[in-house]
Symmetry: D2
Subunit: 343 residues, 4 copies
């Protein structure tokens, strides 16, 4: 259930409710935003009737959450979530862009890319230090050394760092270095990893698994939210289908479909979604037009030499073009509908 | 092979080449556009060497077509095709919109919808008189009576009529009434129907089959082109996948992927692609952002009473909103890339 | 509704009911099998109450058909259908095998194959005279000449002929020559063709479309049944998925799933389902183990020279092996469960 | 490369080769089976030429491994692998059956099921103590308590225990209790977990991910093999497709396709593959007919009360029937092909 509090409710009043919930074995979560205060209590209605709680001091109203995703559900929030990553808001009507190489390969590679990313005005750098790879014989990332380089880049260019945590064992290290922790598509149902991410104070970017339904994706988010970390951003990165002109099929309709069910922001990764450089810009723009709160794109100064995913990385000039056009599309879909007609 | 002629080549010079091709059992097709004259001869290089043809009068150059889609291939054309439907260009940098109900249900229904479609400035009406239906017990369309109503609507509102031909048997009737003949997704590999459409002088809208690869779709277009009808427009309408939040999965990346391989225009049908009204606008805009030359959308004044596909039909006000926003997105992606940065 | 008659009901009593149905616009279908007589009347319960019909002479009982497939539904029959093709029963506990080349290519090719097929004891020959092909530039079959050769083969070897009708235009010719008319996967929703097949007196083999659900497949059968032809056999031939080790994915569970919903026999085509010779035998046996009433397999004496689908055709010796093992598996699954244990 | 040794080669001769490989940074793996001795050295040919090794004492021949799965590849072994689980061979021409409830729910439930499983002659019990669940609110298994119960069951009934390890954190506990450790479908690309399983001495059952290609599955096995554990059994459990009559689509052709590429045994899980009790027996038999080395099935005495996956669990009597029929089918496909004909 969702317990809407009076914005003026006191900490003690909140405490009292949390204690009551806890007595029934339920961990309530407090959400506070300007002018709004609420407590989400998953499955509380099985143990407590609303009329047990509604009369309590500071309570305005109790609302049932009918969705199976108690914490991710749009029903459970009084406003859409905005996740801040080193000062950059994701959600809330702005468009966020995170760009960079698939993996950190060397100091030189990383700094060259970070420089033009920063110069373009983009504020978030994405790059993997730990790389989950299908084959044990493929480049697995620079690991801790890569994290050091990412920290240097943040220092040098003021970029927020988005990087992947691939396992519980090395999560601490990634957590220390990252501004936003990515959970990759293959790990979307690695529940131990999700729970660990839920115990982190850092924002989490949760990629959709290549064969995950929207429902399963939201349940995965629920694992993170359930541990207390509410800074979750969803990221569509293409699904596995038989359609063979691209590496994956960008499921663009999941963006509005997800936003209808959850209060979490949704990003799109057109690079992994297509695997083909020439499709990245049109698909990135499609994601923005469909309502995505941001894009995650791969760019590389020498894609032909990239140690992973070269064929999908944008060249610097194309990256600039995408960054510019994406802003245009984002503005276009927010235009007030003119009385005007279709000409 | 593609035989590029001097723009000034005479009809006799063209004739001579066609005769030579015919002597080898090859039907050459002449393409003429302002300042450009060429002949496409599928598989001619198996019978004739370029240096047999290149010296002939009026010939500028002979180019091999390496694509398996000899006529649909971008290699086979000197410019992208623009298909005109009752004065409305599809392709060539403009954005076309065709809107209307799934099926013609009654005079009243059709005229009400046609009126607001026309008032919005949209010039093409889509509506089926013959409806292919999964179940033999579902509404199968008004047939010839529906065609009569469509003709009346054209007369009354000046709208171009896009309507489906479902079988060879009734093709003549549809052809007489339609300004553009739709081949539905289920018929994408109905080769007899494709060949019949290829012998028509009317533009053809070829929907992608729900499980058709890009390659198979272009081969289907090749069946039509091979009979001499070059007025073919492709239409992506969602593919069948396991992703279950929408009826189909809009494969938005197929738009740029198709445009890379073929000179034909590509439209997107976000209504069938999603089957959910709330996803139609974002997905329509995504299609435009990905570079589609137009949209095909369902709109109905009383979707809840529609005899088919009601849940996906836009209400009049939403339709107006889509029409307006789509233009904005179309303009946005054509903006010259500013020197400006991402802010 | 399903109207169960007394087995002793007179033709006049049956006629009276059909007339009553007709007066409500319903075409009833009479099913007669030893000791059983019934009338299926699709959607009759919308117009007529059971207690209007139950008191009529010769009527034993009226049963509603809740399935949307009124005629294909297992509810609508008092026994599973057995379809006879030139004396070979399909369904009813036996295992049928139809084998032959993908397409008729020449007299020599056809006779060589037919000879060893006949010598193996198999009674049905499958081969296409009309071939639906993805590309207009691929071999399209010998057409009428191929039908002549098939007739000769029947004459010479006493084999029943299974061959495909690809369009309404050439259906008559195929119908004259064939003992069983195949509707190919791409035509599963070619409703004009289905209706034409429904007006034929010949048995029909209805292949499942590569992206058709079980429901859509049964609706397609319903189109044929609705025209009065009850001799329909379903054939699973692999579906389109992202799994890429084979051309299609044999959906073996559809065999028992279909048999739970319909009274029609179900065959399996392991050749098209896999596209790889080395997978045909294991997948054919899997189909039999899952309860298929028969197999449709491609065999060719020189697969490397076949004009279509060579890589999936079995060599004569492998074909013999499949024929033998399939019988063994068929017997094994019909064994009475021994009291005995798993050792 | 694969280094085939003389069967009589001495330990010192083997040691010498391993040292040479190690000097080039390669970890060689020794495979010994009766009459055969070999060393697999992944990617060794990049560092060492065959003619550097072939002259060494005890070496018979050096063969390149062209497959990308160096250790899983059929090329890398001189015989198919047989994995023994508490005395029960998986692979090698026998048919193994592991049966039990989805999850351990209580002592009573487990013992009742174990009793009839053991009485049927089946030697392996499958049951999860740790359950990975899509929703954090679903039953997650009894954990360590479940492992205790499984140990009791082994003690009482002499059954080998197959149970799932869901994360690195609890792997040690599972490893201590299990006779075979299952890696579930959702964890097929949990590389940390795979590596941990590779450092175990216990046999590993590696389920195919719901959207994993055969290639990705074999790479996952390669992660385990690469750490030194060669006791790996693959298990097909259905893939995610749009086909909606069953929960997943049993990809039966992957059984022979996998066996063509790898020396590892392959099992089939018809319970998860279908999710419908009435499809489990036909699909289990289909798996055996396709060449599976064993089945993993769910059985429950009160499926309607099961805390997870009840609808797919076989009743005791049906389980007995499957066990019996599966043996019959297994024998049928191993019959020598009779000279006899198809009758």
């Amino acid at each position: 259930m969702l317990i809407l509090m009076e914005p003026s409710a006191s900490p003690d009043q909140v405490r009292e409710i949390l204690d009551l919930l806890e007595a029934s074995g339920i961990r309530g979560q407090v959400n506070e935003s300007p002018g709004s205060l609420s407590i989400v209590a998953p499955h509380a209605s099985q143990a407590l009737k609303p009329d047990r709680i509604e009369p309590m001091a500071g309570v305005r109203r109790v609302v049932p959450i009918t969705s199976p995703f108690k914490l991710a559900s749009a029903d459970s929030a009084t406003a859409r979530t905005v996740v801040e990553v080193r000062g950059v808001p994701i959600g809330g009507g702005t468009l966020a862009l995170a760009a960079g190489p698939c993996g950190v390969e060397s100091r030189d590679q990383l700094f060259t890319i970070a420089r033009y990313v920063a110069e373009s005005g983009v504020k978030l750098l994405r790059a993997g230090a730990f790389k989950p790879r299908t084959s044990p014989y493929s480049f697995q990332g620079l690991g801790e050394e890569g994290l050091r380089l990412l920290e240097e880049v943040r220092e040098e260019f003021g970029l927020g760092i988005v990087t992947e945590a691939t396992e519980v064992e090395t999560f601490d290290a990634v957590e220390r270095s990252a501004d936003m922790i990515q959970i990759g598509a293959r790990n979307m149902q690695n529940f131990a990893l999700l729970r660990r991410a839920g115990r982190s104070g850092k924002p989490v970017l949760l990629k959709r698994g290549p064969a995950a339904t929207l429902e399963e994706w939201l349940y995965a988010a629920e694992y993170i939210l359930g541990e207390g970390n509410r800074k979750v951003v969803l990221c569509e990165r293409g699904i596995r289908t038989w359609s063979d002109h691209a590496r994956n099929t960008l499921d663009v309709s999941v963006v509005p479909a997800a936003k209808a069910l959850t209060h979490l922001p949704v990003m799109v990764d057109p690079s992994h979604a297509t695997g083909r450089r020439d499709l990245v810009i049109p698909c990135g723009l499609a994601g923005v037009a469909a309502g995505a709160d941001g894009l995650l794109v791969e760019t590389h100064c020498h894609p032909e030499k990239a140690l992973s995913d070269g064929p999908q990385a944008l060249l610097p000039s194309d990256f600039m073009r995408l960054a510019s056009l994406a802003q245009g599309v984002h503005r276009a879909i927010q235009a007030p509908t003119p009385a005007g007609l279709w000409m």
